[in-house]
């Protein structure tokens, strides 16, 4: 390893220790804010893991998030916590595979609409089941999990999502996805099973989103379908990832942090008009920063490193 890599690793390790000790020195408000930040960092990064290279815009975030939360609501009191998380992982992966196999052959636009509908479909299914079978519409989540526990789990999940993303980028799957993002027809003729690659990545991304939902569930103590399957989350995650830039692993996190703070501020200060302002922010980002902050940064640094003469080299 080069000295700069060691320095970066040491800095990352030190930063992680500071973050891990946060529950010991932060008060309840800041702990809660840190949980929100981590939650959206993991959600946006996991979203970018799939949508960045494939350029499919998924609005299914809340579907997986809600399924994770409901897994905890149903099984949280019955089974040991690690087992509950394991089951949430399995359900998230299975659901992603079924959805992926049936939809990832669709074009981009159809996929967006389908994933948006999926969240609503799952929500209606849960409502139907609860009303007709269990005859309750809300559930209490009584598990022995503190706010600090939630924070630490999310921190571990954040480390995991970055580690997995880093590994995928260096794997054959990562290379396959770059080719698919460039030209799907060429990818097929290079011997790449395009559907399998996309479904695999969709499932990995969905597992992280499902786990965030499961980990966050104890925070509410009471959940019902409209809380667990809140469509706003899907849109917020898309905005965050686009602001940061979904084509780089750390891009979505760059967008998630300022926007979580902004949304937090807006919902406290302008509770009735916050969605309107979020919509305006969305439009501004899409028009002003189509490649996100990361894309802008890369353009600026490229311009600095290259001499200003001869923009095109013709041979």
């Amino acid at each position: 390893m080069s000295p700069t890599q060691i320095a970066a690793l040491a800095a990352g390790g030190a930063g992680l220790v500071v973050l891990a000790l946060l529950p010991f020195y932060a008060d309840a408000y800041y702990l809660s804010l840190a949980i929100s930040l981590l939650q959206f960092t993991v959600l946006a990064t996991a979203w970018g893991l799939f949508s960045g290279p494939t350029r499919y815009v998924s609005l299914a975030t809340t579907a997986f998030f809600g399924v994770g939360a409901y897994t905890v609501a149903v099984l949280g009191e019955v089974l040991a916590w690690p087992l509950v998380l394991l089951i949430a992982t399995a359900i998230g992966a299975l659901m992603a595979m079924v959805v992926g196999i049936s939809t990832l052959r669709l074009s981009g636009l159809h996929f967006v609409i389908f994933t948006f509908g999926l969240a609503e479909l799952v929500r209606q299914l849960v409502i139907w089941y609860e009303v007709n079978k269990t005859r309750v519409l809300g559930r209490y989540v009584f598990v022995d999990i503190t706010q600090s526990d939630i924070y630490w789990q999310l921190l571990a999940l954040a480390v995991a999502v970055f580690a997995i993303g880093w590994l995928i980028a260096r794997s054959r799957l990562g290379f396959a996805l770059r080719i698919i993002g460039e030209d799907e027809t060429v990818a097929k003729h290079c011997g790449i099973n395009v559907t399998l690659a996309k479904v695999t990545l969709f499932a990995i991304s969905a597992v992280f989103i499902t786990l965030v939902g499961a980990i966050m569930a104890p925070r509410w103590t009471y959940i019902e379908p409209s809380i667990a399957f809140n469509p706003t989350i899907s849109f917020q995650v898309v905005i965050m990832a686009l602001l940061g830039g979904a084509h780089r692993l750390w891009g979505p996190a760059v967008g998630a942090i300022p926007l979580t703070l902004l949304f937090e501020f807006l919902s406290a200060r302008f509770p009735s008009t916050s969605t309107l302002i979020i919509g305006v922010v969305f439009l501004l980002i899409v028009y002003a920063l189509p490649q996100g902050v990361v894309g802008l940064w890369e353009r600026v640094s490229r311009r600095k490193s290259e001499p200003p003469i001869a923009p095109q080299v013709q041979t």
Binding site: R172, A176, I179, D183, H189, C190, G191
Partner: protein, 248 residues
Amino acid sequence: MTAASSAPVLEVSGLTRAFGGLVAVNAVDLAVQPGQIVGLLGPNGSGKTTALNLISGVLRPDSGSIRFAGQAIAGMPAHRIARLGLARTFQLVRVLQGMSCAENVKAGLAFHSPPLSRSEIDESVERLLRRVGLADRAGVPAAGLTYIDCKRLELARALALKPRLLLLDEWLAGLNPSELLIGIELIRSLKDEGLSVLLVEHVMDAIRSLCDRCVVMNSGRRIAEGRPDEVLADPAVIEAYLGVSTDA
């Protein structure tokens, strides 16, 4: 036709595909023997590219059979056909613009089954780039290549699949006369290495000098088959290209 000596690499029979009411490929028969270059000719819109798309798995045939190296491949997904050793280039040249030349070639090497080792891949990237005349361009972004170099790169990526059969869709189109000579020599050298080639082409010089046999299509049907000089003198072929002669 002469009696078939050894088993053909590619054997297509009764291949048919319609788009709505338009039968783009209509009961076409075609065979490529090992080490042969076969030309697929015909006026624009006669179904040549559709035929290639059916063979390479982009489209599914409505009926007919396609046997590649003894295996039935009609309707198989494109990536499986590619892994069997059937490579192609595209009518509108397709390189991966956001990647370097070396990565473009690596795209054709990384997904073999069984997978190649890292050193095999690195060694093959270098060999293939040298093979098509891009040895000094390994690190150059593909987006900055000239037209003929894009064609070379696309060919290198196709060769990276270690193909037994290569489908070239107007690979020589758009080249200037000196580039054309280089291109023809390159294809001939592939044949000398034992590769079988099916090429769709309009450049008559290339067809005459390269092809062992030609199949001519018109309106989706096969209208002639034989040696290049035979089929190019065939009245039905001349009529398909130029229309009916009036001073007969």
